[in-house]
Symmetry: C2
Subunit: 360 residues, 2 copies
């Protein structure tokens, strides 16, 4: 079959890691007789440079007409962004937000697990890691503070800025259903995270989650306050199977969860809506400081491509093929610098792509 | 001199740890010739039980007329709160929020540092800890999502809940000034945390912080996005000196920061306004599961009392006395169960109080 993939190279290390993921996809296509056709689209900073805005109508349309979107890292996550003085609609991140919303991608799935081979890269002590941990963060992606009304005004000579956080029961229900569905295929445990002791939106969140839970007798669940969850991730990550939470909390907690694995360069993510269509991107940021040096780890993007095969194209065998190739490369001792340790063989971005392709 | 201290015992382990702090204060008073007079006041769950609401007018007045408030842990931070179905004004946490607001305590100061003696309790690896870390989180405490308008409605048959996040430049300026002032007495570095790539309130936050920074030539500063900060705390805590942030981010990040020290039972906190008046409480939660068992660690509350002497009463010598006594007890090998390790002597809550008093 032929699948159309819209490709957003992104900022910083984005282009070089996406390049490897595309090469790996093509290798898998060759093996299996499928074909992937790519269309480059521009978003964020790259789109501002060319079109003067972070996302054009045509780009959104092209993305929506494709079978899935593969994206490199975007934005200035790790450094001070020079964009923050611009009006909201001109900031590069506005492109990403408009894309998520425009494509109806309300469910952001971010797995965070410990790679046995990379245990020593984990910042947590062996006693805390125990036999390892393996969780999925299910973050609501098109509601809450990110998409509320906002304004900056001068009232009586004083600058005042306002954001708002709204959720309705339908928005909460559909993401909760996804979380319980995923839990069913895993260890059957959901921890729903909120701040119900303060926020009205969190109280509604809790109620709707309890209603959804009634349909899942086989899945246990509990509520956890967001501040406590930020502690528990560091203190006892083994307790988590599926974490279900709203947009802003999910942003913070999923980054914390990625970091405690010690291998953020290895973690993929998917953003899904109601159907098969999805957007796939690495969990890590655009790391502008190491861009263009052929040292970035392409594995998170390669594994995101594998997720795309599995979730959007139903190509499970091909996804397995890629995941196994990655595992084999690690077993054979190859590492990019971010996951390098004693006795291993250090390789660059492109070489890592080659090594994965050789094993497909 | 005579100082009037309003005392809120709080929930869970609150009463037993506050009791030890009061005994330690009295021991310090005896040595120094000062006198502390205590007035018990009720707040949160305890106040609901007696008065039917979490904070009464009289309690707020009594607190405001005292020289400082000493508080045990309150709320159901570590367990699912059965209160979340109640209207906001009836939840125990509403008492704490009304108290903070009513007393004008806009600056929450939470130190998070590694105790050399307790290094092994830290969940982070030795390589990450390095020579140790020592930071202060300065959290804005009376603005943002916690105090915005909120509502829960049914619109066209669908439940909708809304919270709002507002900051004006004066609210941001006064907390930023406190953060830069504290940095000046420390390692002279401020990291201001926001989500300026998405929120209008964060953009204003960033601008005002930059304006304030202009008056502090001797203090360096940078901006960091909240998701990145949640990662950096785990990955490289040594980089932080003073973290300055808004209410909700501060709630999450300060709990994460406490946890990475591995000794949350040791960390004190202060909430201050413009003057000398302050509210002092441990950083940890109310741990209802171990309440009444004489095993809770009273040191965080004892050190909060020492902070009270220093910040509200200008009794630096007496504060030193208490802090040194705590240090001596640790050096002598005594530990409560939460910080216990091989070869140390395990003691209970009251015994720990005795040991500190003996060394004063
Ligand atoms: C770039 C930014 C808007 C984005 C977000 O906060 O959603 C990023 O941090 C992420 O987590 O995907
Ligand atoms: C009890 C709760 C309202 C409170 C807060 O979130 O402010 C607590 O978590 C804290 O950090 O002091």
């Amino acid at each position: 079959m032929n699948f159309n993939v819209a490709v957003i190279k992104g900022d910083g290390i984005g282009p070089e890691i996406v390049e490897q993921a595309v090469r790996v996809l093509d290798a898998a296509a060759e093996k299996s007789g499928h074909k992937f056709t790519y269309k480059q689209i521009l978003m964020g900073g790259a789109s501002i440079d060319v079109y003067g805005k972070p996302l054009t109508e045509e780009t959104l349309e092209t993305a929506g007409n494709s079978d899935a979107v593969l994206m490199g890292s975007i934005g200035g996550n790790t450094t001070t962004s020079p964009w923050y003085r611009l009006p909201a609609e001109l900031r590069p991140e506005a492109g990403l937000l408009a894309l998520r919303k425009g494509l109806g991608l309300f469910a952001n799935i971010r797995p965070a697990y410990l790679y046995e081979e990379l245990k020593k890269a984990c910042p947590l002590r062996d006693e805390i890691i125990g036999d390892g941990f393996d969780m999925v963060i299910m973050r609501e992606l098109t509601g809450g503070l990110y998409f509320g009304e906002r304004s900056t005004d001068v009232v009586d000579g004083i600058r005042v800025a306002k954001d708002s956080l709204t959720y309705n029961e339908n928005e909460i229900r559909r993401i909760a259903v996804k979380a319980f569905d995923i839990a069913r295929k895993r260890k059957k445990h959901v921890i729903s995270v909120d701040k119900a002791n303060v926020l009205d939106s969190s109280r509604l969140w809790r109620q709707v989650v309890e209603e959804v839970a009634e349909d899942y007798d086989d899945v246990t669940y509990e509520h956890m306050l967001v501040d406590n969850c930020a502690m528990q991730l560091v203190n006892d990550p083994k307790q988590f199977d599926v974490i279900l939470t709203e947009n802003m909390f999910g942003d913070i907690l999923s980054d914390e969860a990625s970091m405690i694995t010690g291998s953020i360069g290895m973690l993929s993510s998917a953003s899904l809506g109601e159907g098969k269509f999805g957007l796939y991107e690495p969990s890590h940021g655009s790391a502008p400081d190491i861009a263009g040096k052929d040292i970035a780890n392409p594995i998170a993007t390669v594994l995101s491509a594998a997720m795309m095969l599995r979730y959007s194209f139903d190509l499970d065998a091909e996804a397995d093929m890629i995941e196994k190739a990655v595992k084999k490369v690690l077993e054979d001792g190859y590492r990019t610098v971010d996951i390098m340790s004693d006795g291993m063989i250090q390789v660059g971005t492109k070489a890592m792509g080659d090594l994965i392709i050789e094993r497909i």
